[in-house]
Amino acid sequence: MLFNNLDQLYRSVIMDHYKKPRNRGELNGNHCVTVKMNNPSCGDKIQVSLEIENHKVKDVKYLGSGCAISQSSASMMTEAIKGLDVDQIHQLTFDFSEMVQGHEHNDDLDLGDAEALHGVSQYPARIKCATLAWKAVEKALRTADQDLNHE
């Protein structure tokens, strides 16, 4: 059989997010922060906007271009973090990163569809694709911490 392990990576839920991305767009407003991140080795691009109020991410949107792994991961990330408290998001991005690296990870928090990306751990060259959007969220939270707290 051809590509006998490939469908462990490209699961149908991943391809669904790739072809029908959720929460695409940009947020502008008082409590919003937008950051961009690139993966310079491959050219994948991501932009993440967060609306943060009372230490909670009320809304999240992303724009970007890249492979099925990086873009589906971004789409899944937006669903996973929307409505969560900032501290929970830090925990979730950490858990996600551990999962895609094949490390033991805490599963108290719900990664939702993003759980399907655990197969990436078998493809070390693709881990950076999966983590790009999640690193962008961390960057957005740091930026928000600096900007919004000093307004």
Binding site: L2, L6, D7, Y10, S12, M15, D44, G66, C67
Partner: protein, 406 residues
């Protein structure tokens, strides 16, 4: 050329990757090494490892002789006039930086122009951006045709008396375009500019004659032509190298050193500060022996037939876009519509086929092609027709796989 015999000289090719026979098609990134090159480097470390141009002991003399013999082999290989014109560097990138900073920086000023092509690798682009920013010179680009070639009449229109440096790749690492560098050099010289040729993708695949090209500088890397990484060449016409100030100073490159000042050694050592990559230089010499034993003309014509097969097979697959001209050096850049190059590369890798996916260190070119990245399969003389067929089959299967998993 007997490919099956040649392949036995490359031990790495005989292995399984992800349960399949390895099909290595990433030669434009780096080539594999024959046993003769590996063994030559092992011999150096096992039998006569010593520093060069220093001790008078036996091993030191042997190392120095072999290191300088390799320089002479390289000189003959590219048909330079003198060994003084062959400078060892770490690779094409360092060679181009040496030209930009060691030659360009002191000679460029406001209003001067540097002209390059839109298909340059970042190594032949960013050093010129930097030097332009520091000197007030203007960085200009030749216009590129739809098929990824340069038209000489437009080259002529772009170069003027303001042009001081023209720097162009002989072969595009993305499109495979073979640029008319000899003709461009002639135009550059008529306007009083110097001509730099990036030979990273041409030197491994075709005969090079720097005097016939009339290149003022010509640069390439060892690792793309069977040699080790970390060794490359800066060729320059002797009078230009004489005029260059060394940008790296220290051991090995001096004539006499006082408390407050120093004078430089003669060429080529003036531009080679510090202990060089001795094993690398000797290994590159062995690589050239291997290439010459096959013959660069044979290599070029064999690769041309491989590339034609690849181009034909891939252009027959619906939904595959090919980039670059029909006539090209040994590589094919393509995209499968609707599938990202990284996903294509992962799928092919799972079948043992190694290709490169990405922007290939040529982001401005990607914007000209109106895509963000491509898949690139690049060939060398040890690749077989069977491997090209495996690639075409892999692409068809990849297309089907991503067509179905929704």
């Amino acid at each position: 050329m007997d490919i099956q015999t040649i392949r036995k000289d490359f031990p790495i090719l005989n292995q399984q990757v992800n349960g399949h026979q390895l099909v290595y098609l990433d030669n434009a990134a780096t080539s594999q090494k024959p046993t003769s090159v590996i063994q030559t480097m092992v011999d150096y470390y096992e039998r006569y490892n010593s520093n060069v141009h220093r001790g008078v002991h036996t091993l030191g003399t042997l190392a120095t002789d072999r290191y300088e013999e390799a320089r002479e082999k390289i000189r003959r290989f590219i048909h330079a006039k003198s060994d003084k014109e062959i400078i060892y560097t770490t690779g094409t990138t360092q060679s181009l930086n040496l030209i930009a900073y060691g030659y360009g920086l002191a000679r460029l000023g406001k209003g001067d122009e540097i002209v390059i092509s839109p298909m340059e690798h970042h190594a032949n682009l960013i050093p010129w951006q930097q030097v332009a920013q520091k000197t007030g010179a203007v960085l200009r680009y030749f216009p590129m045709e739809e098929d990824g070639t340069l038209a000489l009449e437009k080259v002529r229109e772009t170069i003027s008396n303001k042009t001081k440096i023209v720097s162009v790749t002989e072969v595009s690492n993305v499109l495979g375009t073979v640029n008319p560098v000899k003709e461009i050099a002639k135009i550059a010289h008529e306007c009083g500019a110097i001509m730099v040729v990036d030979g990273a993708q041409s030197t491994p695949h075709m005969a090079v004659d720097v005097q016939a090209l009339d290149a003022d500088f010509f640069v390439f890397s060892g690792h793309k032509m069977l040699g080790p990484t970390g060794i490359g060449i800066l060729y320059g016409k002797q009078e230009l190298l004489e005029a260059m100030e060394p940008i790296e100073t220290g051991g090995e490159m001096i004539d006499e050193v006082g408390f407050q000042s120093a004078t430089w050694a003669e060429l080529p050592w003036k531009l080679e500060a510090g202990t060089p990559h001795i094993a690398g230089a000797i290994g590159l010499g062995a690589a050239i022996d291997y290439l010459q034993q096959i013959g660069m003309d044979q290599i070029q014509s064999y690769e041309e037939s491989l590339t034609n097969t690849a181009y034909e097979l891939l252009s027959q697959i619906d939904g595959v876009t090919l980039y670059g001209p029909g006539k090209r050096s040994g590589l094919v850049s393509f995209n499968i519509n609707g599938v990202h190059p990284h996903d294509v590369s992962t799928a092919l890798d799972s079948e043992g086929i190694a290709v490169r996916a990405g922007h290939h260190c040529a982001q401005p070119l990607m914007s000209c092609l109106k895509c963000e990245s491509t898949v690139r399969a690049s060939f060398y003389f040890y690749n077989s027709e069977d491997e090209i067929e495996a690639l075409a089959k892999g692409i068809k299967e990849t297309k089907e796989f991503f067509g179905h998993v929704v």
